[in-house]
Amino acid sequence: MRAFGAGGGNDIQWCFSQVKGAVDDDVAEADIISTVEFNHSGELLATGDKGGRVVIFQQEQENKTQSHSRGEYNVYSTFQSHEPEFDYLKSLEIEEKINKIRWLPQKNAAQFLLSTNDKTIKLWKISERDKRPEGYNLKEEDGRYRDPTTVTTLRVPVFRPMDLMVEASPRRIFANAHTYHINSISINSDYETYLSADDLRINLWHLEITDRSFNIVDIKPANMEELTEVITAAEFHPNSCNTFVYSSSKGTIRLCDMRASALCDRHSKLFEEPEDPSNRSFFSEIISSISDVKFSHSGRYMMTRDYLSVKIWDLNMENRPVETYQVHEYLRSKLCSLYENDCIFDKFECCWNGSDSIVMTGSYNNFFRMFDRNTKRDITLEASRENNKPRTVLKPRKVCASGKRKKDEISVDSLDFNKKILHTAWHPKENIIAVATTNNLYIFQDKMN
């Protein structure tokens, strides 16, 4: 594939916009970013971390005088979503790490999001308060109660403007429905229900009801010795409220229709690419495990991410993907080391741009990759503080797999496998992307002229 970004045509020229987080290399575990998600308008950007905290950034209104760049993202709200818990029965600690955040579409002045750790999903309401009542008869301004006998006249309390306060409050807590670790949540297009998936089961919830959830997929075998695969991700179809998909550690995707039966253990469609048996190795199954599945905005396609590639599937064709993009094929000859250092189990996510024409995913050495489905060109960029100048176009990076390394290329053996980009997000409408390194959040925008 030819690299894009070399100028000309409709290629996007990506520029650094902002970076959030600490500069120092000594990363506290709590600061490791575990999820990144834009809301439906793109005005808000949420991150979750290993310490159970959520930080929400808001895009500032476009400044008419600053036409050369879109609004910056500034901190809007931050709160502790989940705390560490202890399962006394099994003597196991329950991590507070936020596995996923999903926004609800906005219905009124407040914003709502779902955040989940391994066991509990919470619905958070984020609301603004910019006025407060003043002039009570029975209360002083500082809140102390007045002695009613000292009141000689009455007044009507009025609302007066105050500095904007953004408050986050937990409105629903959906607990005790998962024996195994939750890997996905997905809001249905009916905006009333959502699913949560763990390693072996998928549950359906109603957003208003916390004491009941319906199990819709259960792949737990009667005898755990017979366990051969686990659920790795699940998502509702963007338009059909009866359809959802789930991916497995064996590289398959099953599409289920909730109208068919209450328990969707029998799939409606099974997407699987046949494997060449002569290519099979010890690593085959591990690298075929799907770490993320995402429907296109149109609902016609879905994308899956396995260890080395991104695949686009047409929902009408089950026997093979329609497009396959190699993310870092040069790692195929390093699988032994990657198995030893556990990197082979890293779970990379992937995302679509607003028009479904470009897909993006992360890699190592703080590199991330984009594939243009129309031009078939791809680009590798780096999230690094060295590229800090706003409006300077990012230079494409190149990894040299073998042989003579050209100037500006980096050899496979020099890649830093501790610098992984697992989470990326694309603004739903604009060419603005959020890329999370271990503990920093980078925002890039396309160059506006």
């Binding site: 600061d31 310490g51 502790q80 991590e95 550690s249 010890f282 000859s333 959040l441």
Partner: protein, 117 residues
């Protein structure tokens, strides 16, 4: 399900063998990597995607000392040797008696995220 590795029986020149090995490595980098792994860990299980590996995944999470597990393990092991803290220490409950060295440091206190700083 393990793939057979290079079982040619005809005699070859040493140079030819090396060239063949290189070709094999280029054509099947995964197999070459698999050979490396098997050379390092000869006791590696035959079914990598099977039970053990998946069970470890399901078990993810910090396991603390459990007096119930401890007593059950002691009862089971009356007639066996005490197992040492092997690489699978997080794998199964009850068969292994945790020692203080197995337990991790407790987490630090909760502060505001540096992203909001």
């Amino acid at each position: 399900m393990a793939a057979p590795l290079g079982t040619g029986t005809r005699t070859e020149e040493p140079g030819q063998e090396k060239q063949d090995a290189q070709e094999k490595e280029i054509a099947h980098p995964e197999r070459a990597e698999e050979a490396k792994l098997k050379a390092k860990y000869p006791n590696l299980g035959q079914k990598p995607g099977g039970s053990d590996f998946l069970m470890k995944r399901l078990q993810k999470g910090q396991k603390y000392f459990d007096s119930g597990d401890y007593n059950m393990a002691k009862a089971k092991m009356k007639n066996k040797q005490l197992p040492s803290a092997g690489p699978d220490k997080n794998l199964v409950t009850g068969d292994h008696i945790p020692t203080p060295q197995d337990l991790p440091q407790r987490k630090s206190s909760l502060v505001t995220s540096k992203l909001a700083g």
